[in-house]
């Protein structure tokens, strides 16, 4: 972990907040000059940002490598879809329920898993994804198996007599943008709090953290649950955006994508993860111009990343901040 990348050691005026606002402002006017397709890519990037934020809290700040994000992403997507399809509940209820359900499921999964050390923990989280997919495939009476759940309504808000549906790409873009901004703010508040500092202490030296009296086990469990909630909320958005969920929502693909976003962007930094999700989703979309070479090019890109930016892009972003600060 480079020092420039760690928020625990940042000093002086924080330029990231005004810059963040500028970025949000830019994002707000983006639909004016972006077509539907780039907007779609950004929507996917912002949806992926949620599980990536969750994984960053777990991996980047607490030092726990988890492959379970796809499982929680899927659980969130199915929870939302089942509620919407069977009970016709409004979007915001499904969205909140998806977060609650994933958090609640993460508790009994986290208790045994977090007792395991390093590699065993990773294998265990991988198991959650496989089990999740098996359940989605085989509990046909609930999930309709491989048929999946279709016709999930677009987000629809009802407040008293007033109601409206977010149907178009632009509408959904604003909805996802608002949620991603709130999630980013939440992560920022968590890592800036004393709890965030304790998480970093656990990441840096768990034995020492334990020996100074930090209840490391409780911290790891709570962070595991929070990261699951983020993944679940992302899954819910995904279900309502694509309007269909299937056992494919439980693919390892999502876990590895989250991992690439966090590690490639810069574990332990918020701006790195935002940059990472835009970059890697953007890259996947951009490479569609050469479908037969797509995954090969993606692979080469990852290799180059590992060689030239072993800490992800965060140090680069860090240099950008200090450049701005020096110019001030």
């Amino acid at each position: 972990m480079t020092s420039a990348a760690s928020p625990a050691v940042r000093r002086g005026p924080d330029l990231r907040i005004p810059f963040g606002f500028a970025l949000v402002a830019l994002a707000c006017v983006a639909p004016l000059f972006l077509g539907n397709y780039p907007l779609h890519a950004i929507i996917i990037a912002l949806i992926f940002l949620l599980p990536a934020h969750g994984l960053n809290l777990l991996l980047g700040y607490t030092g726990l490598l988890s492959l379970a994000q796809a499982a929680f992403f899927g659980i969130g997507a199915y929870a939302s879809a089942l509620l919407a399809v069977h009970f016709g509940t409004p979007f915001y209820l499904n969205f909140l329920a998806a977060g609650l359900v994933t958090g609640a499921i993460a508790l009994p999964l986290g208790i045994p898993a977090l007792r395991l050390r390093a590699t065993s923990f990773v294998m265990c989280t991988l198991g959650f994804v496989i089990i999740g997919q098996a359940i989605a495939k085989n509990w046909i009476s609930l999930t309709r198996g491989d048929m999946g759940l279709a016709a999930i309504p677009k987000p629809y808000f009802a407040l008293g007599p007033a109601s409206f549906t977010v149907s178009g790409t632009v509408g959904f873009y604003y909805l996802v943008l608002a949620i991603a901004a709130l999630a980013t703010l939440a992560v920022y508040l968590i890592v800036r709090s004393p709890a965030g500092r304790n998480m970093i202490a656990i990441r840096e030296n768990e034995t020492l953290a334990e020996s100074v009296g930090i209840p490391t086990w409780h911290y790891k469990l709570v962070v595991f649950m929070i990261s699951a909630v983020f993944a679940g909320l992302g899954g819910s958005l995904y279900a309502h955006y694509l309007t269909v969920v299937s056992p494919l929502t439980f693919q390892m693909y999502y876990s590895t994508t989250m991992l690439i976003i966090v590690l490639g962007g810069g574990a332990g930094t918020i701006s790195g993860v935002i940059f990472g999700s835009l970059l890697f989703v953007g890259l996947t979309e951009a490479l569609r111009v050469a479908p037969e070479l797509r995954m090969i090019a993606y692979g080469f890109f990852l290799l180059a990343l590992v060689f030239y930016f072993p800490n992800g892009f965060a140090p680069l972003i860090g240099r950008f901040w200090s450049f701005l600060e020096r110019r001030k």
Partner: protein, 246 residues
């Protein structure tokens, strides 16, 4: 000798099903500087970890100021006035000296944190000059001092120090041991585990030798030569003695 404040009797402990300590007996009176030595795998570090509640105790007792603490967890042990300085570089490298000390004060109330930090800075002025430096960017000796400071900050009644000389230059080792001697002179009880036997014997008031999870020698450092120490480490007995292991 004063009443022992720490009294270990027949202590058996280890990790999981693996037993490392096979009946350790040891009394440490208030204010004493005890060096715990022995060959690799003797159980020195395990003894310190056991005192700090980080292993599985299988039998025996650890009496600390009239209380059996063998079933206590680290946090409760810390509250009882026992602090542990783990082996090797054991700080939070991406945090500053100040932040490291703040983490070390985790269990203290906010009002006391500043006071205790100032107390530590008075004790180790060199750390005060480095207060805004990242711990990971300091020299090994400074980091070791920081680690001692992090434990001393709790104003422990006994300080458990595990191999402070690991990876340090001779000069840095000298500084760290001088500091340990200084806080011991001010009344700090210290139980030190050390591989550097020369250095340990020079500073400690008492030498305790552990082999295969048992205390095999206990006395004044002046009463044992380095050759005899080597003999004890290798064979478990002194030259001319009959085998004491069986």
């Amino acid at each position: 000798m004063a009443e022992p404040s720490l009294s270990i009797k027949g202590l058996r402990a280890g990790y999981g099903s693996l037993d490392i300590l096979n009946g350790v007996d040891l009394d440490v009176p208030q204010g004493q500087f005890v060096a715990l030595m022995g060959p690799n795998g003797a159980g020195k570090s395990t003894l310190l970890k056991t005192l700090y509640g980080m292993t599985t105790v299988k039998g025996g007792s650890i009496n600390w100021q009239g209380k059996d603490i063998s079933a206590f967890k680290s946090r409760a042990i810390l509250a009882e006035g026992i602090s542990w300085v783990p082996q090797g570089r054991c700080n939070f490298p991406v945090m500053t000296v100040d932040e490291n000390l703040q983490m070390a004060a985790y269990t203290l109330r906010d009002a006391r944190v500043k006071a205790e930090r100032d107390y530590v800075y008075d004790l180790f002025p060199i750390l005060k000059t480095r207060r805004n430096t990242l711990a990971g960017n300091m020299s090994g000796g400074e980091q070791q001092l920081l680690e001692v400071a992090m434990a001393v900050l709790q104003r422990p009644k006994i300080l458990l120090v595990d191999e402070p000389s690991v990876g340090l230059s001779p000069t840095a080792i000298g500084i760290v041991f001088d500091e340990l001697l200084r806080i011991n002179a001010a009344g700090q009880t210290i139980l030190l585990v050390e591989q550097n036997t020369k250095k340990a014997m020079a500073v400690a008031q008492r030498a305790v030798i552990l082999r295969l999870g048992k205390v095999i020698w206990d006395g004044l450092p002046a009463d044992i030569t380095h050759d005899e120490l080597g003999e004890l480490f290798l064979t478990g007995r002194m030259r001319g003695e009959t085998d004491v292991e069986h």
